[in-house]
Symmetry: none
Subunit: 229 residues, 2 copies
Amino acid sequence: MKKILIIEDDKTIIEGLEDTFSFHDFQVFTAVSGSEGIRLFKEKKPRLVILDIMLPGIDGFEVCKKIKSIDPGIPVIMLTAKSQESDKLLGFELGADDYVTKPFSIKVLVARVKAVLKRSAGKSLKEKTITLGAVEINLKSFTIKKGGTEHALSPKEAEILTLLLDNPEEVIDRDRIIDEVWGDEYYPSPRTIDNFILKLRTKIEKDPRNPEHILTVHGAGYKFKTNSS
Amino acid sequence: MKKILIIEDDKTIIEGLEDTFSFHDFQVFTAVSGSEGIRLFKEKKPRLVILDIMLPGIDGFEVCKKIKSIDPGIPVIMLTAKSQESDKLLGFELGADDYVTKPFSIKVLVARVKAVLKRSAGKSLKEKTITLGAVEINLKSFTIKKGGTEHALSPKEAEILTLLLDNPEEVIDRDRIIDEVWGDEYYPSPRTIDNFILKLRTKIEKDPRNPEHILTVHGAGYKFKTNSS
DNA sequence: TAAGTTTGTCATAAAATTGTCACCGGCGGG
DNA sequence: CCCGCCGGTGACAATTTTATGACAAACTTA
């Protein structure tokens, strides 16, 4: 579940956006001021920020600058009432990734968000197929080929696998998996995660009982190893 | 050299566009009225049309309709002074492929033109017939031959099938299907899509209950497989 | 090595998604 | 004007995925 943060002081707009983006399977956090926004940003670590320029207290440009200094890679979409080019330019200079002028159509905004996310995740693994010896992982087609047979991945399986693959050699603890795959308002039982790992192993590993790629780090989490050497 | 046709009554704009697109290696034809535009369209057979909505005589919408009736595949980009959603909607309904609001930046327009051309070039599948074992798909004539019998495709069926065919092996989720086939503005019920898939399957698959080509990826979308191995 | 945790595995329950079919309204052709 | 096709919906069944609990196995630590 993708997390996004909306910083906007108009409650009406917030409400509408919250509904819409929830509907489109985003987990939405909202802030009505710049400082709250920055706090939430640090706390929730969203994948994208929608940011109004006109804010009480710190203005949107400052917030953008601050956010970008925390994580330069995070996509930011600016909202503004003025359609003036100068603002737009300033926004882009400060690192905004896209720009939407009020009044905007919700549909357009959703489309932009998706586009920006896609762009920022562009070079991600989803484009490629990963080959590990006799195993071929293709996230784009939700598919794993092992030996001669092809296994299908379910959405959750794919998400977990993507997370592991995105951070090879790095230990990912359960909290992180839960946070990134389920979002932080849901707490599946610990067994749930084991089960997905189990299923992934039967699909990826030659000998699921002796995994070579999806390794358990007892007491800490799981880790993905690319070279089985 | 790609031919484009610009239909626009403002001479200043025409001049600017002509320069710019020439510079970008397009061969440009221009018309200052709808009827002249349609005549030139038939005569020059351009790859893309840039069309102002406000025209003396026949208005842009009519011209668009006419052009699309001559060649439904031709990309049309609409220009307008009004940024009103309603106009946009009408434009899209009549088959405009993109929409640019005056005053526009030339850069943006060029980018749009290239994007639209790229998109429509991808549809070159439409030229070919695809053969899958005993099944023959002909997007150009909206026709599928399975065994001895020939099935006709409805427009929507064809659009969905084209989308799948354009991205073989790739999982296309429902949102994407909706975006690309219905557009941003409309949300059909989930059942609607199932139904089209159902209809496509009865036309393509040998055993519609056990599809070999149009596969469901539960929770994620649909996927087209070419080789039924 | 034994106790205490953490993880693996399996069966099974719960939830979500998709398949299928019947049916409605609009539109164009005969 | 009637009929049939197309696009669209709703109800319900079928299927698949997700979640959980019980218990075995493995690991840590003392």
